[in-house]
């Protein structure tokens, strides 16, 4: 069985196979490991390598495309590839839309449709988790549309402002 994970823009392929004796082999790139494994409490996995006697306890959670794993004193967050995600990301970048990075409430809208803006200029101010988040223009351009007003509660990914960036 093949699994693919994305970690900081790099994709990793894992080929995992069960052996007849209950152990497993895993191949990642040029490395192949043989090991026994079983689940512990809290979704943890116990993996004991056959060759080296090495062993790890890995805590793992999976939700939608997100994967979290804690091993050897450090946590890693990865994703499993999802074609829908790639499409959405592409669309967003191409159209000059500024989206909310996290849910929050709009506390200020500092531009209107048609305004010219310079790179770094504050367009919208959000407040979330007691933090003020200023959404700024990534480049010089002109405001094509403003989709939110002060007091609006916005979801993550929701479009706030559209820019024409020439």
């Amino acid at each position: 069985m093949n699994f693919t994970y994305t970690y900081h823009d790099t994709e990793y392929a894992v080929q995992l196979d069960a052996l007849p004796d209950g152990r497993y082999t895993a191949t990642i790139g040029e490395n192949t490991y043989t090991f026994s494994a079983h689940t512990l409490e809290n979704g943890a996995w116990w993996i004991a390598l056959t060759d080296s006697g090495g062993q790890v306890t890995a805590h793992v959670t999976a939700q939608d495309e997100a994967r979290f794993v804690h091993v050897d004193g450090a946590s890693y967050d990865l994703t499993v590839p999802d074609t829908r995600t790639s499409r959405r990301r592409g669309a967003s970048a191409g159209s000059g839309e500024l989206t909310a990075q996290m849910p929050g409430q709009v506390t200020a809208v500092e531009v209107a449709s048609g305004d010219s803006v310079t790179a770094g200029q504050t367009l919208v101010v959000l407040e979330a988790m007691k933090m003020e988040i200023r959404v700024t223009a990534p480049t010089d351009g002109q405001v094509k549309a403003v989709h939110v007003a002060v007091g609006d509660v916005v979801e993550r990914g929701q479009t706030l402002v559209e820019l024409d960036t020439q």
């Binding site: 699994f3 959670t61 890693y76 970048a93 979330a128 988790m129």
Partner: protein
């Protein structure tokens, strides 16, 4: 007088901390909770819990009439405000006292006088406590500030008269940036404290933040419990605190602790409080502000002095005299606290909301964890994204750093990104190890401090694959959220924690 039932007007880890103190003192603990907190640990731990409204703080934890109502309904005889929220609201303290209940904190008058930073500065000047050069005036407008700024000189700080905790503060490097900073700080101050007034202070480069814990009873005993150093800050938000301060010699330590006692005595302080100082590279120190409440970082003081601050708060609130003298208090060993936040250091420290699917706190000798959530709890947008405070105590500072590194590595938090790798990177800097971190250090070296994206260990990938194989049959990909926007150039934004 013995207290029997306490309303805890707070949430999260500090509510849990206060509930534990109540249990030990035989006080019934009454919790209040917003919609977002219905399943929270502090609600489960309380003897009884009352819903008080929507998740927005103004609807719930800041709603004085509702809180007083619950206190009456539940038969409370006292109220503990924790930190944040209404802990420094003299209006709330007064309302509690008007309802005939004991307020576990200093008097409303003290809160008012120390809460208005400009009044506190005046008081301290009279008491002979050294002050940072600055400017304050009632009804000062931007023009007045701009003119005063010329004589103070740049860089300087814009601060909110009405509050503390890093909110409403701006460092201004040059005159051109002052108007925008004043506007932004004023908006933040209005939101946070309902008080738009600002004042200016000279910005002291490479300053150290050193604060002194005060405990005072109603019989005129004002004692200090030594200092905490909290210079490891990002954008004025404390990240790592410790006691003792690695830079104080005994003479300076005595001087700063005595100044703190003088400051607290000047306002007739009763209960726990903290006098914050700024220490300069030249060895001078200036009064910064007084926090008239329990601090987030109080555990480091508890660990090095062996004192239980929350229990003492209840005792002095009932009129008991302090059970020790100044001479009986000493610092032993070294304590460090790290604040674990749900935030992504690799993505501009944006808060990382989501469900904490697995939370396994570190255990072991000399490790204390103050947290308010358990596996399965949500980190929501409504409140501070602090997940846990990890506090260690060890014989020496070097031992404490090693213990903290292990404690952080042993902490398992899955389901949301945390700042643990950033905390580890900080602990590993030569500056932190040598005790040379000043308040600007983190911001000045942020890029260098951000840990490199580590190589992912193959064992991590194998564990993920095992788990995915295991859940293969029930696996589906709902049309849910995605992390895909993180690397988009359009996602760029400026943010800071207030």
């Amino acid at each position: 007088m013995t207290l029997k039932t306490c309303l805890i007007a707070n949430r999260g880890e500090i509510a849990v901390r206060i509930i534990r103190a109540c249990r030990e003192l035989g006080i019934r603990a009454v919790a209040v909770y917003s919609e977002a907190d219905a399943n929270a640990q502090f609600v489960q731990m309380a003897d009884v819990a009352y819903p008080i409204g929507a998740s927005s703080p103004t609807e719930s934890y800041l709603n004085i009439p509702k809180l007083i109502d619950v206190a009456r309904t539940a038969g409370c005889d006292c109220v503990h405000p924790g930190y944040g929220f209404l802990s420094e609201s003299s209006a709330f303290a007064q309302a509690v006292m008007d309802a005939g209940l004991v307020w576990v904190g200093p008097s409303p008058d003290t809160i008012t006088r120390m809460g208005v930073k400009t009044e506190a500065r005046s008081l301290m000047q009279t008491a002979g406590v050294p002050l940072v050069p600055g400017f304050q005036a009632e009804d000062a407008d931007n023009a007045a500030f701009i003119s005063a700024a010329e004589s103070i000189g740049y860089p300087l700080m814009v601060k909110a008269a009405g509050g503390g905790g890093g909110k409403g503060i701006r460092i201004v490097q040059e005159a051109g940036a002052l108007p925008d900073a004043l506007d932004s700080a004023r908006r933040e101050a209005t939101n946070a404290f309902g008080d738009p007034r600002l004042f200016l202070e000279k910005y002291i480069a490479e300053a150290r933040h050193i604060e002194v814990q005060i405990i005072a009873d109603a019989h005129g005993n004002v004692l200090h419990l030594f200092e905490r150093e909290c210079s490891t800050q990002r954008r004025h938000q404390k990240i790592i605190e410790e006691s003792p301060s690695p830079i104080l010699d005994d003479e300076t330590r005595n001087a700063i602790c005595e100044a703190a006692v003088k400051a607290a005595s000047a306002v007739g302080y009763v209960n726990a409080g903290t006098v914050e100082f700024i220490a300069t590279p030249d060895g001078d120190f200036y009064f910064l502000e007084m926090n008239t409440r329990l601090q987030v970082e109080h555990p480091v003081t508890e660990m090095v002095t062996g004192v239980d601050l929350v229990a003492l708060q209840f005792r002095v609130a009932t009129g008991d005299a302090l059970p020790f003298t100044q001479a009986q208090i000493s610092q032993r060993g070294h304590a460090i606290e790290c604040r674990v936040y749900a935030e992504d250091p690799h993505n501009q420290f944006l808060p990382a909301i989501g469900q904490v699917q697995t939370f396994i706190p570190p255990q072991g000798p000399g490790i204390r964890v103050d947290s308010g959530l358990t596996s399965g709890d949500e980190v929501t947008i409504h409140y501070d994204p602090m997940i846990a405070k990890i506090i260690v105590h060890a014989p020496t500072r070097a031992d404490a750093i090693r213990r903290m590194r292990n404690a952080l590595c042993e902490t398992v938090i899955l389901g949301t990104t945390t700042n643990i790798d950033f905390l580890l990177a900080l602990l590993n800097t030569a500056e932190f190890v040598e005790g040379a971190v000043h308040t600007g250090f983190v911001d000045n070296h942020l890029q260098a401090l951000l840990p490199d994206t580590p190589e992912i260990p193959h064992m991590a990938l194998i564990a993920l694959a095992l788990n995915d194989l295991h859940i293969q049959t029930k696996r589906e990909r709902p049309a849910g959220d995605s992390d895909g926007d993180v690397f988009s150039p359009w996602a760029k934004s400026d943010q800071f924690r207030l």
